[in-house]
């Protein structure tokens, strides 16, 4: 029966959320809102993920069949060599034509590393920020400020070293 999988998902979500709660409780001080045990919150998402994958795939497939029979000069297009080449604006020089898997600028790596640092910073801010409203007055603000000052010292260093300049030669 098609609907047999529903209780299964419910059971799995129950078990996982229960263990998550236990882990959190034993491992650290749980003061923030934690993932609810309620299956309501996971069942819709599970179904949605399936549908969200199904819709685009079916779009591709439908178009593949529809497009196949709609095109007129099918034989000609299959034999056309130029049609299947990478688009190069028609410029036929050695510098442009060919494979694209070449080396690219180191700047993108630097941006990637900066992103890792600051995205982690933001991720670490979440716990502070969720508890902020429920803490007494300035208590958490001091913690937040201490954390930010440490990080912004690093930010200032990066700024002065020119790591944030796109054009600077590295």
């Amino acid at each position: 029966m098609f609907f047999d999988f529903v209780p299964l998902i419910a059971a799995v979500s129950d078990v996982t959320s229960a263990t998550q709660n236990k882990t959190l409780e034993t491992a650290m001080d749980t003061t923030g809102p934690i993932i609810s045990e309620n299956v309501h919150h996971f069942l819709p998402l599970t179904i949605l993920v399936c549908l969200a994958l199904l819709v685009p795939v079916s779009m591709l497939l439908i178009s593949w069949f529809a497009g196949k029979y709609a095109r007129v000069n099918r034989d000609l297009s299959d034999q056309s060599k130029e049609k299947h080449e990478p688009f190069e604006c028609g410029i036929q020089t050695a510098a442009t034509v060919g494979q694209a898997d070449e080396r690219f600028s180191v700047k993108f790596y630097i941006i990637g590393m900066l992103f890792l640092v600051f995205d982690l910073e933001v991720a670490f801010l979440y716990p502070f920020v969720i508890r902020f409203k429920y803490a007494e007055g300035w208590d958490l603000l001091w913690v937040l400020l201490a954390f930010l000052v440490l990080l912004e010292a690093g930010y200032l260093y990066l700024f002065r070293k020119g790591a944030l300049d796109w054009e600077k030669e590295v």
Partner: protein
């Protein structure tokens, strides 16, 4: 620390407004059709969920079509043209006709490209878009899922979009595509930091990551919306949100990713037919999502601006479309930024100012200076 006094109070909101326990005529019919062993509770929930999902997905696809029409119409007006007029009344069916045309195009792939990544890329943005739609509360009982960590869910899924651009540009094996993809990657990850800092400000003020609770916390008159309720900080954060979300959407003035004049289309240079239109569709769905998130966080979501007016999805639509109008206005007003200006804007201006704004909001809340 005593945990009992710190629990959020709005925990019951979700249960009060849960749409999945309500029944629909269609759900009743399906329930009669297949006799469920567990008394029909989970089954009815499943059916209701599927109905809601299909409704919202269909709605969002329709929205994307309307948005394309709206953009073309507005672009015409900005440039003293009429925009589409022929197909249907006011050219409303123009997008549908375009979509049908793209559907019937040949499924075509350049020889040099990598088939798996080439076809995987167009799938991801739509998948991500539908998943983010799930947690947006459209109305008091109109939403698919209500996870406690809704905002974190959004920031996690939002990464799928940039992944798609990177995969697609790499899989196309074209230099223009690759350049566009790399730029898209660098730009998206840079602006994501500021975008999440804007989210954090709302989390700081409301103490919630659940979107429904955030909306419910802004009930009442319009000065209860976070954009006004946090004096100064809310408005600055809203402006930053508009800027960073424009960049995340790769829209002008931040569209170095596509940059027709330099890269002939950027990451989708090699895409045609349905694959291209899926990127295109996802772009507009994302635009709607960004506007809806902005409206939810800063403008009170589905809440009416005055207490005596009824709440409902039409308010969210009105607010979202107002923000979308801003996006379109930007696109036809500002020239494109160079990539170094783009990076400088984020790393030297938005990031530090967002952090300062966050601390400012923290001080406001610690001192109790909120409206």
């Amino acid at each position: 620390m005593d945990t009992s006094t710190h629990q959020p109070v709005q925990q019951s909101v979700a249960e009060r407004l849960d749409p999945h326990t309500a029944t629909t005529p269609l759900g009743d019919w399906v329930r009669e059709l297949c006799d469920a062993p567990d008394g029909g509770n989970l089954l009815s929930m499943t059916i209701n969920v599927i109905i809601i999902i299909i409704a919202i997905c269909a709605f969002s696809s329709l929205t994307a079509m309307v948005l394309v029409w709206m953009e073309r119409k507005l672009a015409g007006r900005f440039q003293r043209r009429l925009g589409p007029t022929r197909t249907g009344p006011f050219g409303l069916l123009q997008t549908a006709a375009d979509g049908l045309k793209l559907f019937l195009k040949e499924g075509f792939r350049p020889n040099a490209s990598d088939p798996f990544t080439y076809y995987l890329a167009p799938l991801l943005p739509l998948t991500g878009a539908f998943m983010v739609l799930a947690v947006i509360p459209f109305g008091p009982s109109m939403w698919i899922a209500d996870p406690e960590l809704g905002l974190i869910f959004i920031s996690a899924i939002a990464g799928l979009g940039v992944l798609a651009l990177l995969i697609g540009s790499w899989g196309s094996n074209n230099k223009y595509s690759l350049m566009g993809g790399l730029r898209a990657g660098a730009q998206a990850i840079s602006y994501e930091v500021s975008l999440i800092l804007c989210f954090l400000l709302i989390v700081l003020a409301s103490g919630e990551t659940n979107l429904l609770n955030i909306v419910e916390g802004q009930q009442g008159n319009f000065w209860n919306w976070w954009i006004i309720k946090l004096p100064g900080a809310g408005f600055i954060a809203f402006i930053f949100f508009i800027i960073t979300s424009t960049a995340e959407l790769n829209r002008t003035p931040f569209d170095t990713t596509e940059a027709e004049s330099e890269l002939t289309g950027g990451f989708h240079t090699e895409y045609s037919g349905i694959a291209f239109s899926m990127f295109f569709l996802a772009e507009y769905v994302h635009m709607f999502i960004a506007a809806a998130i902005g409206a939810t966080l800063f403008l009170g979501g589905y809440n009416a601006p005055f207490e005596f007016l009824p709440d409902g999805w039409w308010w969210l639509m009105a607010k979202s479309y107002a923000i979308i109008f801003l996006y379109i206005w930007f696109r036809w007003t500002f020239p494109r930024l160079r990539i170094d200006q783009l990076m400088a804007l984020e790393w030297k201006f938005l990031l530090p100012l967002s952090l300062i704004n966050l601390v400012f909001a923290g001080i406001l809340i610690a001192m109790g200076w909120i409206l």
